[in-house]
C-alpha cells in the first residue's frame, strides 16, 4: 500500500493509460482524482473500479488547457484532500496515429503543431502551476509527465505530436531543476506504442509487427505496463530521481 493516505491527480483518466494509472494508484491505497473532460460515464466507471481496487477516487471534470477550470479542480482537491502528493499529466490533445495516412511535414500546418503543443505542454503548464502551492507548502511532491519514445526514436514522423512531446521533456527538465530545491520531483514516462487505447485502436497489425520485431521484449505495451514506472516515479521509491525520462517500450529505445 505505497499510496495510502496520499492524493494523486491523474489527468485524462477516464480511459486508456490514464484509467489504468488511476486503478493502479487506487490498488496501492491512494485517493485518486480522476480528471476527465467530457466522458463523465467513463470517469465514473473508473471511480468505481478504483474503489473496487481498494482505494478512494473522485471524478472531477476540467479541461486542463483552460486555466480557470484547472484552478477550480485544484481548489476542490484542496478542500477534499488538503494535499496533492503526485500529479500525472496524462491528458493530451486528440490525435490519430495512422502511419498509412499521416500528414507529412509539408502537409502539416502550424495550427496542428499549436494544437499538440497546447494539449501536451499548455495543459501540463497549467496543472503544474495550480498544484504547486499545495506541494510547496509541504515541501514535497512528484510530477510525472507522459511523453513518448517517439521523441528519442521517431520511427514514424508524427511531426506535431512528437514535437510537442519533445517540448514537454524539455519543460520537465527545467521544472525539475527549479523545483528540486523545493523538494518536488519532475520526471517523464515515455511509452512506445500502447495498445489498446482509443488513440491506437486503428493501428494496423503490420505496424505492430514491425515494432515488435525491433523490440527486445517482443511485444507491444499495454496500458498496465505503463502503470509500474509511473507509480515508481510518483512514489518515494524514486525519491532521488528527477529530470529523467523513463522509456517504457520493451527496449525499443535504449538511452
Amino acid at each position: 500500500m505505497k499510496f495510502r493516505d496520499k492524493t494523486i491527480l491523474v489527468t485524462g483518466a477516464s480511459r486508456g493509460i490514464g484509467a489504468a494509472l488511476a486503478k493502479a494508484f487506487a490498488a496501492e491505497g491512494g485517493l485518486v482524482i480522476v480528471n476527465y473532460r467530457r466522458s463523465e460515464a467513463a470517469a465514473q466507471a473508473v471511480v468505481e473500479a478504483c474503489r473496487a481496487a481498494g482505494g478512494q477516487a473522485l471524478a472531477i471534470a476540467a479541461d486542463v488547457t483552460v486555466p480557470e477550470e484547472v484552478a477550480a479542480m485544484v481548489a476542490v482537491i484542496g478542500e477534499e484532500a488538503g494535499r496533492i502528493d503526485a500529479v500525472v499529466n496524462n491528458a493530451f490533445a486528440p490525435y490519430v496515429f495512422d502511419p498509412d495516412d499521416r500528414a507529412r511535414f509539408w502537409e502539416t500546418p502550424w495550427s496542428a503543431y499549436q494544437a499538440q503543443v497546447d494539449g501536451a505542454l499548455k495543459a501540463t503548464y497549467h496543472v503544474c502551476q495550480a498544484v504547486l502551492p499545495l506541494m510547496r507548502q509541504r515541501g514535497r511532491g512528484a510530477i510525472v509527465n507522459m511523453a513518448s519514445d517517439l521523441v528519442a526514436r521517431p520511427s514514424i514522423a508524427y511531426h506535431d505530436y512528437t514535437t510537442a512531446k519533445a517540448a514537454l521533456i524539455g519543460f520537465s527538465r527545467n521544472l525539475a531543476t527549479e523545483l528540486g530545491p523545493l523538494g518536488i520531483r519532475v520526471n517523464c514516462v515515455a511509452p512506445g506504442l500502447v495498445y489498446p487505447t482509443d488513440a491506437s485502436r486503428g493501428t494496423r497489425e503490420a505496424v505492430k509487427d514491425m515494432l515488435i520485431a525491433q523490440t527486445p521484449l517482443g511485444r507491444i505495451a499495454t496500458p498496465e505496463d505503463v502503470a509500474g514506472p509511473v507509480l515508481f516515479l510518483a512514489s518515494d521509491w524514486s525519491g532521488f530521481v528527477t529530470g529523467q525520462t523513463l522509456h517504457v517500450d520493451g527496449g525499443l529505445v535504449m538511452s
Binding site: R136, R138, G139, R140, P181, L182, G183
Partner: protein
Amino acid sequence: MTEFAGHLPGLSTEEVEWRVLDFAAWGESVQVSVPVLSEAQSLALAARVRENARAYLKTRSVAQIVATLDKAVARLLDRDDPWRRKAEALLPIVTGYDAETVRLGLSGYLRTFRAPQLQRFLAEDFANPAVLDAFQPAMKGGFTRAHGPELLLHVWAGNVPGLPLWSLISGLLVKAGTVGKVASAEPLLAGWFARVLGEIDPRMGECLAIVWWKGGDADSEQVWLDQADTVVAFGGNAALTAIRDRAPVTARFLAHGHKIGFGLVSAAALDTRRAGPLARLVAHDVMRYEQQGCYAPQMLFVERGGKISPRDFAEQVSRELAGFARRHPRRALSVAEAAGVASWRNAEEMRAFDGEGRVVLGDAADPWSVVLVEEAEPLAPSGLNRTLKIVAVDRLDDVIPLIAPFRAFLQSAAVAATPEELFRIAALLGEAGVTRICAFGRMTAPEAGWHNDGRFNLLDLVTITEIEQSAELAAEGFADYVD
C-alpha cells in the same frame, strides 16, 4: 561496553564509587561509569589539584602550556589516534548526534585550539601574554602580572561534544588548577582530554580533575563551590542562580546562561542565484547540534523586497533541512524533547488556522519544522531540534525592537547583507546586546579567540598584581648600589 568518565589524579578506580549512566542510540548502547566522590575524596582532590598547579603549572611558561595543549589537540584531531577513535565511536551513542556530525563537529572545534589559534586567543585578551609568566612593564609605569585562579571550577551543561573544552582550555592557559564538572548528557570528552594531557605531560595531567555529580545535588556541589576561588558555570538561569547563591561571596562567579541565537537576511542576499546556497547555510546552522548550543539560530528575520520572497526563502530552508535529515539524521528525541517540538508546531498550526500570514511548512511527521510569519513577531525560543521560525520584515532595522527587550538572551546573530548594511545593522545589534555577529554557516563554530557572551574569557579569570611606580622607585632607594 563500559567506559569510565572523569579524571581523578591520585585516586585509583577501586577507591571510588561509580554510578552507571546508560546511553543508547543508533542501535548501540554504552554504559558510562561516572565517579561519585565522598566529601573527603573531593576535599583531598581539590587540595591536590591546587597544590600540583601551584608547584608545576604555574611554573610553566604560557608558551610551554600552549605547546602541550597543542599536542593534546593534535592527538584528538588524528583520526587514527585511539582516543579519537573512541570519541568517534562513543559520542554518537552518548549524545545521539549522528556519527558524521560528531566527527565534523569535533574536528571543527579542535582546529580552533591548535597552537596558532591558542596564541590568537591569548593575544585577544592580553596585549602581552608574557604578563602571565612574569611581571611586565606597564604603560602607565610600574609592572603588571596576571595570576590565574588557584582552583577554578567549571560547571558544564548540555551535550554538545567539545563545548567544555572552551572554558577548560581557557583555565589552563591562565595556569589555573582546574576542576571540571561534566554534564550527565555528555560526561566523556572533557575527561578524555584530561587523560590525553596526562599522557603527554603527566605532571600537567595532575593539575586538573574532571568530576561528576548529579545535577541539582546541592551537597556535592557545595563541597566544590567552597573550594573554588573562581566558578564558571553554564546552564539555565534557575540552575545558575542556585549555584551563584551557594558560591562563597569571595569567589568570582562567571555565568553563561541560555541564549537565543537568530539571523538576519537582507533583501540584497535574496536573488535567484544566491538564495539557494544561503538557505543551505541557514539550514546547516539549524541542523548542527540540533540547536542545543547557545549560539544556534532559533529565529530568522528576512527582509522583503528581494527577488526571493521571505516565503520562498522559508520553503528553501525547509527543503534544505529535508536534505540534511538524510545526510545528518536528527538524533532520537527524548519524550520531553519530542513533546516540546510537537507543542511548538501545534501552537504555530493553531495560529495559522486562526489568521492569515502564517504558514507551517512540511508535514508534522518531518524531523524538522519551519514556520513563516508575515507579521513582525518578537524574538522567542523555537521548539529546538531543527525547528525554526522565519519572520518577514520590511526593513532590517525593524528587527531591532523585536530583539531589544531580550538583552539577557542575546549573543550570536548571523547576518547576510551588503558591507554597508552589515556595519550599520551590527552597530544596532551591538547596542541591543548582541555580542557575536557571524556569517550563516558559522553560527555553531565560533572563531578562535571569540569572546563568549562578549566577555574576555581569559581576562575574566585572572587577577592582576601591580607593582606601582612608587614601589619601584622606593625600592631603588634601598638598592645597595644607591648613591
